[in-house]
């Protein structure tokens, strides 16, 4: 019994130590991210203590933490810049909510946002499933939400208009340029679709299958894998047997890079293409030399091609965040710019209703062009460009050796 007690005490000490580490870790990440809560009031202190709050929801921990944390950084960066500019007669504060990519956690977090009387608007979500769970909360409590990263098509709809708007392209809009490049320009005709069994993968499979159908093609095979799958070799056998010359991957980076590296190992002669969920440094690291020649479409414009975009990249890097810019990080920044623009139009005392009307009527020129919203609150600013892995790094397709003909994709 005595020994048990000893073990228990040791475990308890371990637990306390973990808590201590956790509490240390949490503020340090908070310090890396310019903490809106702590510093903003001091910046706005001269203007009295009026505060306007914006809710921001993202998967800051868990499997999608890379995208979520980078987006949080960008969003808070934009708000901090606005606070520092002195153009607003109040301090703007961000309530950061971590949805952990879980719908019920997101829903509880949304309740936290809407129960704060100072909140006038929210922006949220990378996961479409979480967005489904929080949209009713925002609608019921009449707080407008601007979606920055969830791409399932039906999130913006007649029923959700005008409370729910979205500044990112949908999965359908994202697949169009990829299909055009792969199927029309490069003339691949034997496509094999592999996707994961998440709503992200399902949405992409549906969208790309529709693109194939519109060209009179059908996929040679459709395989769906559970999240966390590590062995793709049975699927690769099927791909080989089907004689496909193009593999479309509809999931995200972890499984995607493993599929790519096992394809390389088994010497499959086919193009690997996918959408923005794969655009990450992880893809390069896991894949190493096997990652070469993967073609990934990414929404937005090439940031370095515009002055505003270059400034954002420079500011982001100067702030010293530990997470690099992901595929949707510019969209989170853009969402913040749109909300800031609308706040400006709402005058000294913005209300949720005023913000709702301002958002749907807004026209904001940010880092990726001018964003306006259509009749169901979907952005009309749709742009995308292709990226390719070349010599162990991401390169814009148009500038790469593949476009110039120095290198050739497999499967030709």
């Amino acid at each position: 019994m005595k020994k048990n007690r000893l073990i228990a005490i040791l475990m308890a000490i371990l637990m306390v130590a973990m808590f201590a580490v956790g509490c240390n870790a949490a503020p340090s990440t908070g310090a890396e991210a310019p903490s809106a809560g702590g510093e903003a009031p001091s910046a706005g202190g001269a203007k009295g203590d009026k505060v306007v709050k914006i809710g921001f929801l993202a998967p800051i921990t868990g499997g999608n933490a890379a995208e979520g944390a980078a987006a949080r950084n960008a969003f808070v960066l934009a708000i901090d810049q606005a606070n520092a500019s002195g153009e607003y007669p109040y301090a703007i504060e961000v309530i950061q909510i971590d949805d952990q990519s879980k719908p019920e956690v997101g829903a509880a977090g949304a309740q936290k946002i809407v129960s704060d009387p100072d909140v006038v608007v929210a922006s949220g979500h990378w996961n479409s499933g979480v967005a489904e769970a929080t949209i009713p909360v925002f609608k019921e409590n009449e707080i407008p939400m601007l979606i920055w990263g969830a791409i399932r098509e039906n999130l913006t709809s007649v029923e959700n208009y005008p409370w729910i708007t979205r500044s990112a392209p949908t999965d359908v809009q994202e697949n169009i340029p990829l299909a055009k490049a792969v199927l029309d320009d490069m003339a691949y005709d034997k496509v094999f679709i592999v996707s994961d069994l998440t709503s992200y993968g399902e949405g992409n499979t549906t969208a790309f299958t529709a693109e194939l159908a519109s060209r009179g093609l059908t996929a040679l095979g459709v395989e769906k894998v559970q999240e966390g799958t590590v062995d793709f070799r049975p699927i690769i056998q099927k791909i080989k047997d089907s004689g496909a010359n193009c593999v479309y991957w509809g999931g995200v980076v972890t499984e995607g890079s493993m599929l790519k590296s096992q394809m390389f190992e088994e010497q499959v002669d086919a193009l690997f293409c996918g959408i923005s969920g794969n655009y990450s440094q992880d893809f390069l690291k896991i894949g190493a030399e096997a990652a070469e020649g993967a073609l990934i479409v990414k929404p937005g414009v090439v940031l370095s091609s515009t002055p505003a975009g270059s400034k954002f990249v420079a500011d982001y890097e100067a702030a010293g965040f530990s997470e690099p810019i992901g595929a949707y990080t510019p969209y989170a920044y853009e969402a913040a710019l749109i909300l800031l623009n609308c706040l400006k139009q709402c005058g000294d005392a913005p209300t949720p209703e005023a913000m709702r009307d301002a958002i749907i009527a807004s026209s904001t020129t940010g880092i990726m062009g001018t964003t306006t919203f259509n009749e169901i609150g979907q952005t009309t600013n749709v742009a995308a460009y292709l990226n390719v892995v070349q010599d162990g790094d991401w390169a814009v397709y148009d500038d790469s050796a593949y476009a110039s003909g120095a290198k050739a994709f497999p499967g030709k």
Binding site: A8, M11, G22, A25, E104, A108, E132, S199, Q226
Partner: protein, 400 residues
């Protein structure tokens, strides 16, 4: 200490007890992370210390002796507590979630606490209830109440199917079967487009009662109540009703035979207990509880998705059960409440959440395997009249 116990055993003591509990619960829900955690740790510590002196048992006795007073004051406080949350959406939301988990844990207890059968699939049972409500309201346009009923029927079937292996296997084999069923459940939903697939089903219909919407912002006497408050009343009503059922089952012949099976099922068989029937009974009634909890959960979030009813949710429910105390309804309710609040308050350090669950479980199992409020010695006399077994008083018997 004896004097304190004596003073507890009066009508006023019981009422004060109730009020103290209600206030503490309210504070834990409403406070910020640090003070709430401090109160929570303090409360658990005090319970553990008091239990060492037998005060917790004395409290239970006092509640039984002054049943009418305890029930009336309890009901008043139960009605007052949702109202006291007022317009606080978030607090109301997590409290409602906690109530729903309490119901699910009560169900899980029939298998794990009473019968000592491992069930790693309570979340799957919750999923059955939740998906019934979702499909009924979204795809068929029926009332969610019909959904609850269909969920109950389906969970009876599911419970029978899952209970069948228990007749042939026990121990580890049973735990593996339930584990496999839970994992298969999530994956089957994931690949069935008719069940919403991985997208889940949004827009689940809200509950109404006689035309009264139960999830809506009402303004009464100038206070804009949070929309969850009426729904919370409904969940509380379910919780009270189902706790009553669970306690009745516990004190019934059935509950006793379940405990006997847990001790030794061969001996139970020899004593004339139909072991197969009782095991199936445990699975079915537990399934019904979990299914109702799932239905209520679907009505709260208005969204169902496969990841909400996954293996990790099952582990969380098991953790609640062990934390609170198996086979004691009050303990189970306390455990579910504490863990729900802990996981909500740990939101900002979510990377540590699972670790904290694991450590709580390891520590609890070693230090106090019976939970914070362990199960009490069965006391049949106490239910109907004053207890004849008063543990602390044998030496005073001659004086009386």
């Amino acid at each position: 200490m004896d004097g304190f116990k004596k003073s507890l055993d009066t009508a006023l003591g019981v009422i004060l007890c109730n009020i103290v509990i209600a206030v503490l619960v309210h504070l834990i829900i409403v406070m910020e992370f640090v003070p709430s955690m401090i109160i929570m740790v303090a409360v658990v510590g005090i319970i553990l210390v008091l239990d060492r002196f037998g005060v917790v048992n004395a409290m239970f006795d006092a509640f039984i002796h002054h049943k009418a007073v305890a029930i009336i004051s309890g009901v008043i406080l139960l009605i007052a507590s949702p109202i006291s949350l007022g317009s606080q959406n978030y607090a109301a939301h997590i409290t409602t979630t906690a109530i729903i988990y309490m119901i699910a844990c009560l169900g899980l207890n029939f298998q794990m606490g009473s019968t000592d059968m491992t069930n790693f699939a309570p979340a799957a049972f919750m999923g059955v209830g939740a998906y019934s409500v979702a499909l009924c309201t979204v795809k068929l346009g029926w009332s969610p109440w019909v959904g609850i009923l269909i969920g109950i029927l389906l969970s009876v079937l599911f419970g029978l199917v899952m209970g069948l292996p228990t007749l042939k296997t026990k121990g580890y084999y049973l735990s593996l079967v339930t584990m496999a069923m839970q994992l298969a459940f999530t994956q089957v939903i994931n690949i069935m487009p008719a069940l919403g697939g991985s997208n889940g089903i949004p827009g689940v219909g809200r509950f109404t009662l006689f035309g009264l919407e139960l999830y809506k912002r009402y303004t009464v006497a100038g206070i804009r109540f949070a929309p969850q408050i009426p729904y919370m009343f409904m969940c509380l009503a379910f919780l009270v009703g189902l706790t009553y059922v669970a306690m009745r089952v516990y004190y019934s012949k059935s509950g006793l035979s379940l405990n006997t099976i847990a001790q030794d099922d061969i001996a139970a068989n020899c004593m004339g207990i139909n072991v197969s029937r009782q095991k199936l009974f445990a699975f079915v009634i537990g399934g019904i509880f979990c299914s109702i909890a799932g239905s209520l959960f679907a009505g709260l979030d208005s969204y169902v998705g496969p990841e909400t009813y996954s293996f990790s949710k099952s582990l969380m429910l098991i953790c609640m059960l062990i934390l609170g105390g198996m086979d004691n309804s009050i303990g189970i309710i306390a455990g579910a409440f504490l863990l729900t609040i802990i996981s909500e308050k740990l939101r900002d350090v979510a990377d540590f959440q699972q670790l904290v669950y694991g450590l709580i479980l390891v520590i609890m199992l070693i230090v106090r395997p019976n939970g914070i409020i362990p199960k009490r010695v069965r006391n049949y006399c106490g239910i109907t009249k004053r207890s004849v077994v008063r543990p602390a008083e044998p030496q005073k018997n001659p004086a009386e």
